[in-house]
């Protein structure tokens, strides 16, 4: 894998996260500015497919674009202001989640793709993201830990669907275009 190819792949996943924000059906505003969003599917995929470092870089690239004003977050939001909003904790959790998911994927090399992708996505894409998101909510939206944690439950069903999708997609890619599963090559 060359540097140039990696550059393209990283950009590709950043774009995927952006594109997932454009489907209105899956991007529902909620909990005072933290939407239920399809974009975390992109975050999970970036980690699972690209591995830890590149996966995290893809998410950071996406967040950089958002920061300089590209309206790429769910609902066409963007700009530096976002990082002062209630979802900031989750956003910071995204690259870390992708990193952990990628790392786990690499650890489980000898397991089947579908299982390891599911486990990695669940731990990195849900566990780690919430680890940052809930304190973020407490800090920025003035909620208690109980409130923040309880409120976050609304995201769980959606997030579980995304984990399942990540697993299925990783499996298909392993079959149809094995070279694209960079975390395994």
């Amino acid at each position: 894998m060359t540097n140039d190819r990696m550059l393209v792949y990283v950009s590709f996943y950043a774009a995927l996260i952006a594109a997932l924000g454009l489907f209105p059906l899956f991007n529902i505003p909620f909990l005072g500015g933290v939407p239920i969003t399809a974009q975390t599917l992109g975050v999970m995929l970036a980690g699972v497919m690209l591995g830890p470092v590149r996966g995290a870089v893809a998410v950071v690239l996406f967040l950089f674009l958002v920061a300089i004003g590209a309206p790429l977050l769910a609902g066409g939001r963007g700009g530096l202001g976002i990082f002062a909003g209630p979802s900031a904790g989750f956003l910071i959790g995204w690259p870390v989640g992708a990193f952990i998911a990628g790392g786990l994927m690499r650890q489980m090399k000898e397991r089947s793709v579908i299982v390891s992708a599911g486990v990695s996505a669940a731990i990195g894409g849900i566990g780690v993201v919430y680890l940052f998101g809930i304190p973020g909510l407490m800090l920025l939206a003035d909620l208690s830990f109980g409130q923040a944690a309880f409120g976050s439950l609304v995201y769980i069903p959606g997030d579980l669907i995304k984990v399942a999708l990540t697993a299925v997609i990783a499996q298909s890619v392993a079959r149809g275009l094995p070279s694209a599963l960079v975390s395994r090559v």
């Binding site: 060359t2 140039d4 393209v8 950009s11 769910a74 694209a180």
Partner: protein
């Protein structure tokens, strides 16, 4: 940044990209603390008026963004339930204004101009070993891929419809991922064939280990 450039020769087209980006930034900052619905609404109207420079085609493409409306409705309902209707209205106008303006900037700015404008912002990264040229290219690629992915989903939908008459729905998710990734491969080949991310400038560096490969 969702749609790309609309050709034209208006003053906004000719305005340097850097100015447009700075203008967008300032507008956002000014708009953020606004609490009066009247001011927020006039901001939005001003943005719409500005939009005339991209003409009919511009409005037509703007309509394609109507998905944002769902979000706005939800946002409004949320605020009504919380008893903060006024700030809800302000928030809705602010959002619409930002979307319209950001869209306008991308409609009137060629991608390469946008990147050149960002160059000074990125140059400091050269000192920590990240080439600003590569970042610029990465951004260009994100902007290229985003609308492309949507078009690709559309195309795959067409292919499915041509063969079944039905809509594909979720079962196209996995095929879509494979198809899209294949395109990423093609783009990196195309890039390599034309000099790679760093161009043909430092061509004399032989054996830099930058060997493309299709594995």
């Amino acid at each position: 940044m969702i749609s790309t450039y609309i050709s034209g020769d208006s003053w906004l087209h000719r305005l340097p990209a850097g100015w447009k980006l700075i203008g967008l930034c300032i507008f956002t900052m000014v708009l953020f603390p606004v609490e009066s619905p009247a001011i927020a609404a006039s901001g939005f109207l001003a943005a719409l008026a500005l939009f005339t420079v991209v003409g009919r085609e511009g409005y037509r493409r703007l309509l394609a963004l109507r998905s944002v409306l769902y979000l706005l409705v939800f946002l409004l309902i949320f605020h009504v339930l919380a008893g903060t209707l006024t700030s809800g209205i302000v928030a809705v106008f602010r959002l619409m204004t930002m979307v319209v303006l950001a869209t306008l900037v991308t409609f009137t700015t060629r991608m390469e101009d946008m990147l050149d404008a960002l160059n000074p912002v990125l140059t400091p990264l050269n000192f920590i070993g990240i080439s600003s040229r590569r970042i610029a290219l990465a951004i260009a690629l994100v902007i290229r891929f985003t609308p492309f992915l949507i078009a690709l989903a559309d195309e795959l939908g067409s292919a499915f419809k041509a063969r079944t008459g039905k809509r594909g729905g979720v079962r196209l998710t996995a095929p879509f991922a494979v198809l899209a990734l294949r395109t990423a491969d093609h783009v990196s080949d195309a890039l390599a064939a034309r000099g790679g991310a760093d161009g043909f400038d430092n061509i004399d560096e032989v054996g830099e280990g930058n060997t493309p490969n299709d594995q």
